[in-house]
């Protein structure tokens, strides 16, 4: 009797161990386009293990952004099943490149719960990208994902900043971001994302980085690609490259950072503040 119980117990333990190992191994991810970043090839199966370790708590087992922590998090974690991504180098509505996803994983998203996963091995991050692409059938269809070309930056001058300021008024940026860039424009409180979750416009005065990078090129790219899934549109059809650079230079003055644009602006502004028309409703901004 005692021996039999021992055998049953041993079998039970072995079965439990097998189940545990299977659980640790995970399911088979769906097929997706091949993933390549900097010569490294992504492996979705390896990415699945890393996803379980690092990502599943927020993005959920199904990749739908409904992880156990999602209820506590604002803004909500990305829903990979929708395959809508904020930070891209591709035109609005298009899927991002593998490099875009890789940089998003590495950089994280400022003012959100998504940390920079920079300490992870590069290969692990590429594997994660490969696995993320298994959550939506959109990734299975072939199609070129051509990055936007970024022209050389125009010189940073007071005139460029002033032109950017005028564009900030003309393009109604202030309606969401506020006249001082604090993300408190008249429309700010009513904005929602593509899943009807409330969303706040970016507050230029608090962040040290932008959601999709920290360089002027990153900011230029945001204008031209838009931030898919949010009310931030693409201005690719409305702004010429030189105008986009002007807008970049002006927005840099709203940050509390010692950027060249801010230094130039702060040196110029005290003597000319009265000459500037205020930003906001019914103002020309000129």
């Amino acid at each position: 009797m005692c021996q039999r119980r021992t055998k049953v117990s041993a079998l039970g333990s072995a079965a439990a161990l097998v189940l545990l190992l299977l659980a640790a191994g995970g399911g088979r991810p769906a097929a997706a386009q091949e993933t390549r970043v900097d010569g490294m090839r992504g492996n979705a199966h390896a990415g699945a293990a890393a996803y379980r370790r690092y990502c599943i708590g927020c993005h959920g087992p199904a990749g739908d952004g409904n992880g156990e922590n999602a209820q506590w998090i604002e803004p909500k974690p990305r829903d990979f099943t929708a395959a809508t991504f904020k930070c891209r180098s591709t035109p609005t509505g298009a899927l991002p490149t593998d490099e875009d996803l890789y940089h998003s994983v590495s950089r994280g998203f400022v003012t959100t719960n998504m940390p920079p996963w920079l300490p992870l091995p590069r290969q692990t991050r590429v594997d994660l990208v490969a696995y993320i692409k298994t959550f939506s059938p959109r990734w299975a269809s072939p199609g070129a994902r051509t990055p936007l070309a970024i022209p050389p930056e125009t010189p940073v001058t007071v005139e460029s900043i002033l032109r950017g300021r005028a564009l900030f008024q003309k393009m109604d940026c202030w309606k969401c971001h506020g006249t001082t860039g604090h993300g408190d424009g008249p429309s700010a409180s009513s904005l929602t994302d593509s899943k009807d979750n409330p969303i706040r416009p970016y507050n230029f005065s608090t962040g040290t980085r932008f959601k999709c990078g920290e360089t002027n090129q990153d900011l230029y790219r945001i204008f031209m690609t838009g931030v898919d899934g949010t009310p931030m549109p693409s201005f690719a059809d409305n702004l010429r490259p030189a105008e986009a650079w002007d807008l970049v230079h002006f927005l840099r003055t709203m940050q509390r950072l010692p950027t060249p644009e801010a230094r130039l602006w702060q040196a110029w502004l005290p003597a000319h503040a009265r000459e500037l028309p205020p930003l906001g409703p019914d103002q020309s901004g000129q």
């Binding site: 659980a23 708590g57 994280g108 400022v110 920079p116 996963w117 091995p121 590069r122």
Partner: protein, 504 residues
Amino acid sequence: MLDRPFQHPHRRLGPRALGLGLGLALAAAPVAPAAGAPAPLSGGRPDYASYIRSRPNTVVVYDGRVWVRHAHSAIPAFARKYGLACSACHTAWPELNAFGQRFKDNGYQLGNDRDSPIWQAPAYWPIAVRTTPQWRLERTTHQPIDLVPGDTAGGVAEGTVTQSGFDISGADLLLLGTLYRNITFGFVPTIDADGTVGIEAAFVRLDNLLKSSWANLKLGKFELDNLLSEKRIVTLSGNGGLYQSYHFVPIGDATTFGLGDNQIGAELMGHSANSYSRYSLAVLTNTSGEPGLTASGAYDGMLTLSQAVDAGRLGIERLGVFGYVGQRPTTFTTAGGEPVPGTGTNHKRFYRIGAVGDFFLGNLEFLPFYVHASDDKYLATGTPVGAPLPTGAQSPIWNGALLETHFYVGTQLLLIQRSEIVRMARQALPDTPKSLGNVDAFTFGVRGYPIMFSRAGLAATAEVAFSKTVGGVPLSGDGVGLPPLAPDTDVWSTSVLVAFDFAF
């Protein structure tokens, strides 16, 4: 075997009392027998009090209980704050992975411009608690046992002592977080199972000074920047819950220091953006972490350097080196014949230098460690400067090495082994057997993590650990054991532990 509980004498003193007492004992007079096992009293009984004085570090380790050293381990308060599962920062908690190391190096900040508590809900409180209910067994060979129970004059004989039963650890209260952006704090009160309360850590850290990750200044009581952290050790048993090499001092040596013990001082630390490159430089009071103005005007120093490389699917491979140079007084100013704390003079030096690695082969992790150490002959023989050294006294030298291996079966099951040796290269006294104090230690364990989310952590752990010390009682977090009657005896100590280790 025994008709009364086998009570370890070290339990009778608290760590602070011991720390002060040791200093005073050292100052007041020349200490203990220079080498070997405790001086025998009549009837062959070891003089335990003398033994305690002669092995101060051992006493601190013994009396401090292994559980105290957990402090600063896995901190679910961070998981709650950032909504990340334990596995994000830990290979298997409490051990850090590369991401967790970077998070810690950055002052427990993710760097998402939401690290300051002003961004948290007012109800958020940066506190976590860790404790470990358990069943355990401790067995030690070659213990001097009264021939007639209760009769101290009737002589002793060596025997094996076995103790087992359900038990509890103490509890660690882990309060760590940010006071503001780039201002980090840590406060870790500990409660031993017997109710003794202590402060394991208390510090403030100024992060990213001059907007550089290469300049972070920490002030207070904190863990040394050990790449192989004893605070994050994954084995918990009496013998397995510590690194022998971190606390070893030759038998008869009066030096109070343990690499694994939190120290009081200031640390300048820096790291690259991904924390692959790291350095730290610390200046520490020479009290081995004991608070109060008992330092003697001399300081210890520690330097660590480490570099990691990205090895693709193998993982992150890291190699580091460290050096610690300390000074301890051998004499004190006295008042009424008693030493005045903090007035030590005639300092003598000791050092610990070594290398440590953290290497991955996929799910297999190797943690090699090596230390080369020496204490000054005055410290090693407990001789105040000015008093005659024992004939032929010299500074002892020893080497310690360990290899710990982890196999991660997914994120929720960990298999562990550790093999460790400490070898005396030179004894303080020439007539001391060369092998006296040598240590062999082996630990095997398994830890399962049935739950893995961002609110709390539970680990079920089972472990067996063996330690052998030649001529002395093995270092053990629990302190079961006494020195053998003969200095050339191999004393084996065995620990078995089955426990729930949880933090919330």
